[in-house]
């Protein structure tokens, strides 16, 4: 169980959220919504330990979140991709960072990048770049997926595939936390977490 207690984040004297607590059980998906600037990104980064909080603690199965590195998959606004390398090279580096065995050609086929494997990522279109980052979801062995606007620049079919992927992960007992301004089908959302814009 992933639980966060009393999170407080203040930015430039504006309270983004205060005493926020949340809990997520295995096999659940939490859909974080809110208007622009509400603090969704900040919350997600805090949950994976990439943000210093004024207050609060986050645990996963009674363990502090900063100690479960390999159990987290975080895909944020930044793609973690070197634009000078090809999609395949980027993927291979990711594979060996997470020590997963997988066939890179097949994976790139799955995200629709066949034929573009030898093109440096900087020539790809916005959506294709995003796909190179999202391919991590296919091979992830992490329990917790924290995804910040995964659908950005992704076309209709892509969005459907991603939702299906969430579903599969949930069925395998994974945790998904996702933000998006595009609505998710209600059938897969277990908790909706609304962040309001605070002044």
């Amino acid at each position: 169980m992933l639980s966060a207690k009393n999170l407080t984040c203040v930015r430039n004297q504006r309270v983004l959220f205060e005493n926020l607590s949340l809990e997520l059980n295995a096999g659940q998906l939490m859909y974080v919504t809110g208007p622009n600037g509400a603090g969704k990104t900040t919350l997600l980064r805090s949950l994976v330990g990439l943000n210093q909080l004024q207050h609060g603690e986050i645990t996963f199965n009674q363990q502090n979140i900063s100690e479960c590195g390999t159990n987290i998959l975080f895909i944020g606004h930044k793609p973690a991709i070197n634009e000078w390398l090809t999609a395949e090279q980027n993927l291979l580096h990711w594979l060996s960072l997470t020590q997963v065995q997988a066939d890179s050609t097949e994976l790139l086929y799955k995200v629709g990048l066949t034929g573009l494997t030898d093109v440096p990522v900087r020539y790809l279109s916005a959506g294709q770049k995003r796909r190179v980052a999202l391919v991590r979801m296919w091979i992830s062995q992490a329990k917790i997926w924290v995804l910040d606007e995964p659908f950005t620049s992704i076309d209709h079919k892509g969005v459907e595939v991603l939702t299906a992927l969430f579903k599969r992960h949930k069925e395998n007992g994974g945790y998904v936390i996702v933000t998006s301004h595009q609505s998710l089908p209600e059938s897969i959302v277990d908790q909706e977490f609304k962040l309001a814009y605070r002044f």
Partner: protein
Amino acid sequence: MGAFDSFAEFISMNGYADYVWSSYGIAALLIVGLVFWSKHKRKQLIEEIKQQDEIKKRRSQHTNSEMSL
């Protein structure tokens, strides 16, 4: 006049006036300047904090986070 025979001699520092007086002058300038700069910074900061406090108050009335035509 202490070590000097006359006031004129004191001013001229027996030929080293430029060096001695300018170093004392610069020293005085820098030290006084530092003190005043620190004071100025403090005033500036207090102004800023006051302003921010007001902004914060105003924010709660006058803000908009939504787009409109």
